[in-house]
């Protein structure tokens, strides 16, 4: 099977690249080995959040100070602002309404109640532009009885430390109580599928209106709206006070929605999305990749003029570590990683970890290196790239989207 481009990986970077190429008339096939880490995303994108543990307020400026090994530096710091605008527009075109801009970070609130710098956040989520000017003082934190993917105590404590006057209020409705018959399924994504009728939303709104007394802002876990934001709008029309969602622990409704909308948009543009298949090997002719064999398509490899590796980091198996080495499992590409196993990790899970920066080695056009030489038509994007650190630098989603858009330009221009 031949298309113009084959993308290995169906998460944020793969879908962004696929959409951008399909919009320019390319025929694109995406191979996705299962659902992606977007399901761990609470509804925000980050461009650059921290450098050496210090929060970044103006990411575009800070990006100029990054070392040459960082993917942003390879794209070119001067191109970031334009690509960031393009990324925001692509999300909007897919039906994902996010607020924020690349010149100044705002703050998102994690499920644990910590404020972290962010670039874009879903409109219905709590977003703080300035920690010295909170959007409200008295806050009602509505906690769903029996829902275990929100650590309410920590969340309330975190919000208090930010300066909110928080009242945590537990509530339930008949619908929620009946769902508790299956305690292992009291998850955000299950609630989002079951709490959809106007009457179920009205019963929740009634509880909120009864219990939130003098609050200026009502916070509710993000367990609504798996296909679009209309459930939020319906709830807001029923709740008498301003309402915002707070991110939950995964699987996340907001992240699932972002993934579903991007995938839908890609398919609408004529793209092929092979869900549940995975690339296993490639056929090379010198420094050119001819085709990719997948587990399911077997002896009929996917052929294309260009290939993009968007297979993610360790969690998505874009990178694999065994007892001897860190490697890229499909093509055995060159990786930037320490040789000695002792150097990979540091004691203390919250310490900066060397392995977070590992990834495939690329040239300045993000072409993948194999045996020290670039593969002419294989580019890497997103978390599989080396030189960045989604956890400690808060640059994961930005690198995913911006490297995807950057290589799109390379592929289209034929450079």
């Amino acid at each position: 099977m031949r298309t113009d481009t084959v993308i290995i990986g169906g998460g944020l970077s793969g879908l962004t690249c696929g959409i951008a190429l399909a919009k320019r008339g390319q025929r694109v096939t995406i191979v996705a080995s299962g659902q992606s880490t977007l399901l761990f995303n609470g509804g925000s994108m980050e461009l650059l959040g921290n450098i050496d543990g210090i929060a970044v307020t103006t990411p575009l400026e800070a990006i100029g100070t990054l070392p040459q090994s960082h993917p942003y530096s390879k794209i070119g710091a001067d191109k970031i602002a334009g690509l960031a605008d393009e990324a925001k527009q692509l999300l909007a075109d897919a039906g994902i309404d996010m607020e924020g801009n690349a010149s100044a970070n705002h703050w998102r609130i994690t499920p644990m109640g910590v404020a972290k710098p962010a670039w874009l956040t879903l409109k219905e989520n709590l977003r703080i532009d300035d920690l010295d000017k909170l959007p409200a003082k008295r806050v009602a934190l509505m906690c769903i009885r029996g829902y275990f993917d929100q650590p309410n105590g920590m969340l309330a404590q975190g919000l208090r430390e930010l300066g909110f006057d928080v009242k945590a209020i537990e509530f339930t409705t008949d619908d929620i109580t009946s769902l508790r018959r299956s305690p292992s399924e009291m998850r955000a994504t299950t609630l989002a599928k079951r709490l959809i009728s106007n009457s179920a939303l009205q019963r929740i709104a009634d509880q909120i209106n009864n219990l939130s007394d003098d609050a200026e802002l009502v916070l509710l876990p993000s367990v609504f709206g798996q296909t679009d934001a209309t459930d939020f709008q319906t709830l807001q029309s029923m709740v008498k006070k301003p309402l915002r969602f707070v991110a939950t622990l995964p699987p996340s409704v907001a992240g699932g929605r972002i993934q579903a909308l991007l995938r839908h948009y890609f398919k609408m543009l004529g793209g092929n999305y092979l869900m549940g298949d995975s690339a296993v090997s490639g056929q090379f002719d010198g420094d050119k990749l001819l085709g990719v064999t997948t587990a399911k398509l077997g002896d009929m490899p996917l052929k294309a003029n260009n290939f993009v590796l968007a297979s993610g980091s360790f969690i998505s198996r874009g990178l694999v570590a065994n007892y001897e080495r860190v490697f890229e499992p499909v093509f055995d590409l060159d990786v930037d990683a320490d040789g000695e196993r002792e150097q990979w990790t540091r004691f203390g899970v919250l310490e900066p970890q060397a392995y977070s920066r590992y990834g495939v080695a690329t040239d300045n056009d993000l072409r993948c290196m194999k045996d020290g030489k670039p593969i002419q038509n294989l580019r890497a994007i997103g978390s599989v790239l080396s030189g960045h650190d989604a956890v400690k630098m808060g640059d994961g989603t930005g690198v995913s989207m911006l490297t995807a858009l950057a290589v799109t330009k390379g592929i289209i221009s034929g450079k």
């Binding site: 099977m1 031949r2 096939t29 080995s33 299962g34 659902q35 992606s36 880490t37 399901l39 761990f40 009946s178 769902l179 508790r180 018959r181 299956s182 292992s184 399924e185 998850r187 994504t189 299950t190 599928k193 079951r194 995964p250 699987p251 699932g256 579903a260 839908h264 398919k267 092929n272 092979l274 869900m275 549940g276 298949d277 995975s278 997948t294 587990a295 399911k296 398509l297 077997g298 002896d299 009929m300 969690i315 998505s316 198996r317 065994n322 007892y323 001897e324």
Partner: protein
């Protein structure tokens, strides 16, 4: 150390690879509509940890699993979650007898053989209100269901009478595993395949001996019988692929998945040596077209707007691409590719009275998408999806092979492939 630890750590179903990420729970169609089912993570790898200690931890709610395999498709770690659940069910069902209802539903070929003999009577009787009421109350087969109509002439009978003789004259050859549905209910699909393959220069041949693939037997707990039939089929397929060098084509996604993957994983009947020789017909045809070995020429006046539904087992095989890409080659076909959702029937599951409401609730998302697509018909590779969608939306549902055969300009195609008309 590395080698040793990993060797000790590998199960048939990748059980140990579960990272507890919970992504499977987001796609389970059953857990989405009922609180009676604990969801794939709990029913699969989580519950398995207990069951490995003591099978008394088996939970009867596992019967609610559709075996749709969407959890396996979603799993980023390659865990065969539904296989874990099926194995637990098989173990719990050992030594138990299936009910009359389940035995009847499971024996699609036996039922078909009897019904064929009395097709007009059977169709009329099975469709009658009093019969339906008796089936509903006595047999617990839901009264809303209509059995697919039985054909008066079996596909194999038609084939022997009208097609078999001329097949040897073609330059290339394939085998065809037609399955129960084509044989007893809908010979037209088999006839469409013969028409299509003949037009591109391929003679079609039946296997020496074909029995029901057994997918319904497995679902209804008749494992011994399923294993017997699997061995017969595996032998016939092996003869075709190994001795006669003929690829075995199919037109049903669930039969195909069963022959290729569930025979070894659930029944312990090894088909790995011939697995690559069994495939859905659209994959075979697509590849020939892609490699420019054959040409398909379509009618100028074919104009239709249809929606493609990816059957769950088709997605599990990862082959919907072939059907979709072939259909896209029909110039007059305005093809809407639907988001993958489960239709809710899952073979015989939805026929059972206790599952009817759940089955329809599961399918409701798909039915809405179909309604929104504003099409005149739906296309899918699975016959039970077809029954469910036809009953629930009122739209006709066709197999991709039938759509291709319908749109094909047979004479022009035969000529383009160098055949005498």
């Amino acid at each position: 150390m590395a080698e040793r630890m990993q060797l000790c750590n590998i199960s048939d179903n990748n059980f140990e690879q579960c990272t507890k990420c919970s992504i499977c729970t987001t796609v389970c169609p059953v857990a989405a509509v009922t609180t009676d089912y604990p969801g794939p993570k709990q029913a699969g790898p989580d519950g398995e940890r207990y069951r490995l200690k003591d099978h008394a931890y088996y939970d009867k709610a596992l019967k609610l699993c559709l075996n749709c395999k969407r959890c396996e498709v979603a799993c980023p770690s390659g865990v065969n979650i539904a296989d874990i659940i099926q194995h637990a069910r098989m173990k719990a069902g050992e030594g138990q007898r299936a009910s009359l209802r389940d035995t009847m539903l499971a024996n699609t070929d036996l039922l078909g053989m009897v019904a064929n003999l009395v097709a007009p009577v059977a169709n009329a009787t099975l469709g009658l209100a009093p019969t339906k009421l008796v089936m509903d109350s006595v047999m617990a087969i839901d009264k809303h269901r209509t059995f697919p109509a039985y054909s008066r002439t079996k596909f194999t009978t038609w084939f022997k009478r009208h097609a078999a003789k001329e097949q040897d004259a073609y330059p290339n050859h394939v085998s065809y595993f037609h399955g129960c549905y084509v044989n007893y209910n809908f010979p037209k699909l088999g006839q469409d395949l013969v028409k299509l393959m003949n037009a591109v220069g391929y003679g079609v041949h039946l296997l020496d001996k074909e029995q029901c693939c057994g997918v319904a037997l497995i679902a209804n707990g008749l494992y011994k019988q399923a294993k017997r039939q699997a061995r017969t089929n595996a032998d016939s397929i092996r003869k075709s692929v190994k001795d006669d060098h003929l690829t075995v084509l199919t037109t049903s996604s669930s039969c195909t998945f069963n022959l290729r993957d569930e025979y070894p994983s659930l029944l312990g009947v090894d088909t790995s040596d011939v697995r690559d020789g069994i495939m859905i017909a659209t994959r075979f045809i697509y590849n020939l077209v892609d490699e420019e070995k054959i040409k398909l020429i379509f009618k100028q006046d074919f104009k239709k707007r249809m929606a493609y539904h990816t059957a769950c087992h088709m997605q599990r095989m990862g082959w919907q691409l072939y059907s979709i890409e072939l259909l896209r080659r029909i110039p007059g076909l305005d093809l809407q590719v639907l988001e993958q959702e489960c239709c809710g029937i899952s073979g015989t599951y939805g026929f059972k009275k206790e599952n009817y409401e759940r089955s329809q609730a599961i399918g409701s998302i798909l039915f809405k998408h179909i309604e929104d697509a504003k099409v005149e018909a739906v296309i899918t590779d699975c016959e039970t999806c077809k029954w469910q969608i036809e009953m629930s939306t009122g739209l006709p549902v066709e197999n991709p092979i039938s759509v291709l055969a319908d749109a094909l300009d047979v004479e022009a195609t035969r000529r383009a492939n160098g055949l005498q008309i």
